[in-house]
Structure formats: structure tokens, C-alpha cells
């Protein structure tokens, strides 16, 4: 039982890491290698707000999210849009966005290093036991999980039930066709990129409650998020959410039942198995 709970908590954390990237890749078609740095930036913001002003990291989202949205929207407008315009094919855009966001990730690391220094950051907030069925769990993880669940739910609802959400899904399925039916694709892409960045940074703020981080740690989050998004199928947020939880459960199960040394190996093993049998990800649609 506690394997399931721990797994779910971890899955919630993974969902926070990956959902933003899913929006950015799925809708805006940018494979954002600076995703992890954006997450760490959120962590730094939360750390700074918590240690400097004693505001809860959870509340800090109110500031972090709009700032991150603005920053990512600008990044898209300034850096990504010219690439989208000049790309002749999807493959070309992929290559260009890998190169560009790789450079951006360096810049972000450099900025955070200059602002905060290179040491490890960790603080205690709500690091208290919370009992579920006689077993203790970290309260801050549970809060992060609840937030993650709310975020997943509302994103899913929003994508499916609102006009803008529908626009996003249309762009994600077929950008060209979406353009033909009168959707402003560049605008939708910029918005999606911004929202994705906001989700990622908010995730970073929440994760900072229980993960030790430093300025150069972002690449680890980026890799995790990439793997989750790809496993789920790049065009469907359901896949990302589901995989985040599957991965959380699988890693915990392996760690508890087999050997903690194989946790990450198990995650990548699962990744490879899924891609071998479903080359377009779990929720991917095969294009014929």
C-alpha cells in the first residue's frame, strides 16, 4: 500500500516536471532543452521568497507563474518565432530548436549562477510527517501532489472544454489545418509556450520544498521531462500525466521490492519497452 502512495507522490512530482514541456512541445513544436533550467529558476524564486520574506513556497506560485509566463512568452517571440518562420520542415525546426534552447539553457544556468551562486540549496518547509493509514509521509510532498493533481485536472479540463484549449489541441494535432480554419497559430504557439513555461516554473517552486537543487542541476529535470513526454506521446497531455504516475509507481515498486540501485534503470527500461511496442508513445497517433 505504501508503495502505491509513495509512487503516486513521486508521480505527482514527475507530472509537475513534464506537463509544461508537453504544452511547449505538443502545441508550439519546440523541444525545449531549457525546460529544466526554467524549473530550477522557479525553485530559486520560491527559495528566495521563502528565506527572504517568509512566504510559503506554495503562495509564491502567485508571483512565479505570471513572471514565468511573461518570460517564456518573450523567449518564444524573440528566439523561437524566427526559427519557426525560417524552418522549411518539421525536422529543420527540431534541429534549430535543439540548438537554440541548448544555448538558452546555458544562459539560464549562467544567470542563476551569477544571481544565487553555485552551492546547493535546500530548506525545510512543512517537512513534517503526515500519517496516512498508519504510515508517515512528508507533508510537503503531499501538498505538491495535491497541487499537481489540481493542475493536471484543470489543464485537462481547460484543454477539452474551453475555446482556447480547443485551439491548442487543434494546433497540436495539425498546425497547418488549424491555420486554414482561421486559428492564429503563431499566437496560440506563443501562448502555449508561455503557459508551459509557467507550469514548469510553478512545478519548480513546489518541488523546491523537498528537492535539493543548485544552478546547474536543470539538465536532470530536462531529461526526465523529455522521457515522460515522449513516452506519453507528444500530442496528448493525457499520455504525459498517465506516464508520470506510471513511472512514479514503477520506480517506487522497483526501489522497494527489488533494489533501489535499479530505480532509474527501471525507468529507462520501461521507456524503451514502451517505445519498442508503441513507437509513437502511449497516446500517439500513427500517421499513415
Amino acid at each position: 500500500m505504501d508503495i502505491i502512495i509513495i509512487g503516486m507522490l513521486l508521480g505527482g512530482a514527475y507530472a509537475l516536471m513534464a506537463m509544461g514541456l508537453q504544452l511547449q512541445y505538443g502545441v508550439a513544436r519546440i523541444m525545449n532543452l531549457a525546460n529544466g533550467e526554467m524549473l530550477v529558476a522557479g525553485s530559486f524564486a520560491a527559495f528566495w521568497i521563502f528565506t527572504g520574506y517568509q512566504y510559503s513556497p506554495v503562495l509564491s506560485i502567485v508571483i512565479v507563474a505570471p513572471l514565468a509566463f511573461g518570460a517564456n512568452w518573450l523567449i518564444y517571440k524573440i528566439f523561437m518565432r524566427p526559427l519557426v518562420k525560417r524552418a522549411k520542415s518539421e525536422g529543420q525546426l527540431e534541429v534549430d530548436s535543439i540548438l537554440s534552447t541548448f544555448g538558452q539553457s546555458f544562459i539560464l544556468v549562467g544567470l542563476m549562477l551569477a544571481l544565487f551562486g553555485g552551492e546547493y540549496f535546500s530548506y525545510s518547509y512543512l517537512e513534517e510527517p503526515f500519517e496516512i493509514m498508519g504510515e508517515a509521509y512528508e507533508l510537503n510532498r503531499i501538498i505538491a501532489f495535491l497541487f499537481s493533481a489540481v493542475l493536471c485536472g484543470s489543464l485537462y479540463f481547460w484543454l477539452n472544454r474551453t475555446r482556447l484549449g480547443l485551439t491548442f489541441r487543434a494546433v497540436s494535432v495539425n498546425a497547418e489545418a488549424a491555420g486554414l480554419v482561421g486559428i492564429n497559430v503563431p499566437r496560440a504557439a506563443a501562448l502555449a509556450f508561455g503557459i508551459g513555461g509557467a507550469v514548469t516554473a510553478s512545478g519548480g517552486a513546489l518541488l523546491s520544498m523537498f528537492l535539493t537543487f543548485d544552478a546547474s542541476v536543470g539538465v536532470i529535470f530536462t531529461m526526465k521531462a523529455l522521457v515522460i513526454v515522449i513516452m506519453g506521446g507528444v500530442r496528448d497531455i493525457r499520455g504525459t500525466i498517465l506516464i508520470a504516475f506510471v513511472l512514479g509507481l514503477a520506480e517506487t515498486a522497483v526501489a522497494s521490492l527489488i533494489d533501489p540501485g535499479l530505480t532509474l534503470a527501471a525507468a529507462y527500461f520501461l521507456f524503451i519497452i514502451i517505445l519498442l511496442f508503441r513507437p509513437e508513445g502511449l497516446f500517439g497517433r500513427r500517421s499513415v
Binding site: 518539421e90 540548438l99 537554440s100 544555448g103 549562477l113 551569477a114 534503470a265 527500461f269
Partner: protein
């Protein structure tokens, strides 16, 4: 070896080579001869930089052998490289160094064969992330294996091979890579690859066993990366999985190749040399803002030179030709 089929202007030939190919070969020999003199001129810092450049030249060029024509972006370089290192690290007490190099080549090729077969159905970004994930899987397994089976030693590579030797070995490997690349380009295999890169369906309908060609090339590329890792192991003295299998290596190799231009054999080296020099200049001049400066330099390159240095060169070459024809 048979002559290439589309001669066109075969006015002048020398053992089946066109004049242009012969000039290319001579230039190559001269460059290699000059490069091999480096350790005699400078055994310090210049040589270090030379080793770095030679290493990335080999890795990027062999990466581009496969990824250039097929457009499959592989991020598995670190997996091969790291395995090569571990072959040397683990086997140094049992086998002589040259044998270990051969083993590394074999291990690299076998692994690449498996990856190749496994990824036949993948395309685009799925292939990219698959290779990244696989490299991580291998690193995790090696780490775990080292924990459960390993002794405390075996990770130290204490040899008498100095930097000079490593540099020359890398140069020989680089020459080998160029020869293989050149041979592939003028063989049926290379022609098949170019067709696959253009349109895989057409390739299949022209009778090309696309799967076989891709897997073969990937094996060549992986094997070379493994040998590179094996050659460099003595330089690093002490091997850890985090460092031997660093994903950053895979990214850098791809990026240098793309900056140069992956669709020509001599493209990647045009990326490696300026990249390594700029990288180095930044490390030297901005010790506290290295990451920031690298990022900025990077973006400048991406936005100012959209198609790599080769693309830039070809653009001006085309302009020059128009101008020449008009004149």
C-alpha cells in the same frame, strides 16, 4: 573499388579518382601531416587543445556518417564512448591495450547493432529521445553492475600512455574515419544512404534494404565512438559513470557537427575547430561567466549561421559561381 558512376566531367583521372577527389586527398594528407607535427612543436597547452579537437573531430565526423545523410539525430554517443572507456578501465589488467581497442570496437558495434534494430520503427524526435534514454539506461546498468559485482579498483587507468600518444592515436583514428567516410560516399552504400535520407519510401521501392543500410552505418558510427572512448581512458586516469557517460558529450557532438554541417564528410570538423577555440577562449577569459558566455556565443552562431559553416560556404560559393558565369 569501382569507379563512381556519375562521372560527368571525367576529363582527367588517376586510379579512378577525379581531379577534384585527388586534390581533396592531397589537401587531406597535407593537413594530417601538419596536424601530426603539433606534439613536436607544443607539448603543453596546445597539445591539450589538440587532443580535444581531435577527439571531437572523430566523434562528430563519425556521428555525421550516420546522421548526416539519414537525418536521424542520435544522442547515444556518450553510451558508446563510455563503454569504450569502461572496456579499457575494466580490462587493462587482463589484456594489452591494442586488444582492448579491438574489444571496444566490437562492443560498440554490437551495441549499435542492437540499438539500430530496436529503433527501426522510430522516427523524428522519438528516435532522438530514445537514444538519449538508452544511453542513460546503459549508464545506470553499468553503475549498478559496478556496485553489485565490482571491486573497488578497475576504475583507475594507470598507464604509460601520454598525451602525445593519445593525440597521434586519435589522428590515426580520424584519418581512418575520413577514409571510411570517403569510401562509403563513393560506394553503393553511400548512394543508398543518400537516397534513404531523401526519401525512405523511394529507397525501399528502389530495392534498397533500408533497415540493413541504417543498422550497418550506425554500427560503424558506434564502433568508432567506442574506440574514441577507449583511446581517451588513459588520459582521464580515473573513470566514473557520471563522467564517462555524460549526456553533455552527446549533445556537444551533435551540436558541433550541426554547426559545421553534417551533410558533408568534412563538415563537422569545420564546426569542431571554431567551436573548440571559442569555447576555450571563453573558458580562459570569462572564468566566472563561462556558462552565460557560452550560451550567448551559441545563440549568435545559431541565429547568424542558420545552415552551419558549410551552408554558409555553399551559399557564397553559389553566389561566386553566378558571378563567375556572368563575367
Amino acid at each position: 573499388m569501382r569507379r563512381r558512376y556519375y562521372g560527368g566531367r571525367r576529363r582527367w583521372e588517376f586510379v579512378g579518382m577525379t581531379r577534384r577527389e585527388l586534390y581533396g586527398l592531397l589537401t587531406g594528407i597535407i593537413i594530417f601531416a601538419l596536424a601530426s607535427l603539433l606534439p613536436l612543436v607544443n607539448t603543453g597547452y596546445g597539445l591539450s587543445l589538440g587532443v580535444t579537437i581531435a577527439m571531437y573531430t572523430v566523434l562528430s565526423t563519425s556521428w555525421a556518417l550516420f546522421s548526416g545523410p539519414t537525418h536521424y539525430i542520435s544522442l547515444a554517443t556518450a553510451a558508446f564512448f563510455g563503454l569504450g572507456m569502461y572496456v579499457v578501465g575494466g580490462g587493462l589488467e587482463m589484456y594489452p591495450f591494442p586488444i582492448l581497442i579491438l574489444i571496444a570496437a566490437g562492443v560498440g558495434a554490437v551495441l549499435a547493432g542492437f540499438i539500430g534494430i530496436a529503433t527501426l520503427r522510430l522516427s523524428g524526435v522519438y528516435f532522438v529521445i530514445f537514444t538519449l534514454g538508452l544511453a542513460e539506461l546503459i549508464r545506470q546498468l553499468v553503475t549498478w553492475g559496478q556496485t553489485t559485482l565490482g571491486t573497488s579498483s578497475g576504475l583507475y587507468v594507470l598507464t604509460n600512455i601520454d598525451e602525445k600518444m593519445i593525440y597521434w592515436q586519435l589522428l590515426v583514428l580520424a584519418a581512418f574515419v575520413y577514409l571510411i567516410g570517403w569510401w562509403i560516399n563513393r560506394s553503393k552504400l553511400g548512394f543508398a544512404l543518400r537516397i534513404i535520407g531523401n526519401d525512405e519510401k523511394v529507397a525501399a521501392h528502389s530495392g534498397i534494404n533500408t533497415a540493413l543500410v541504417k543498422v550497418l552505418l550506425f554500427m560503424v558510427s558506434g564502433s568508432i565512438a567506442a574506440v574514441t572512448g577507449a583511446l581517451l581512458a588513459p588520459r582521464w586516469t580515473y573513470i566514473e559513470p557520471t563522467i564517462a557517460f555524460s549526456p553533455m558529450l552527446s549533445f556537444l557532438v551533435v551540436i558541433m557537427a550541426l554547426i559545421g554541417g553534417a551533410h558533408r564528410l568534412w563538415g563537422p570538423v569545420l564546426g569542431v575547430v571554431p567551436f573548440a577555440l571559442v569555447w576555450d577562449l571563453i573558458t580562459a577569459k570569462f572564468p566566472n561567466q563561462t556558462a552565460l558566455m557560452l550560451g550567448i556565443a551559441f545563440l549568435l552562431i545559431v541565429y547568424a549561421i542558420p545552415h552551419g559553416f558549410i551552408g554558409l560556404g555553399e551559399k557564397y560559393w553559389a553566389k561566386y559561381k553566378v558571378w563567375r558565369d556572368r563575367a
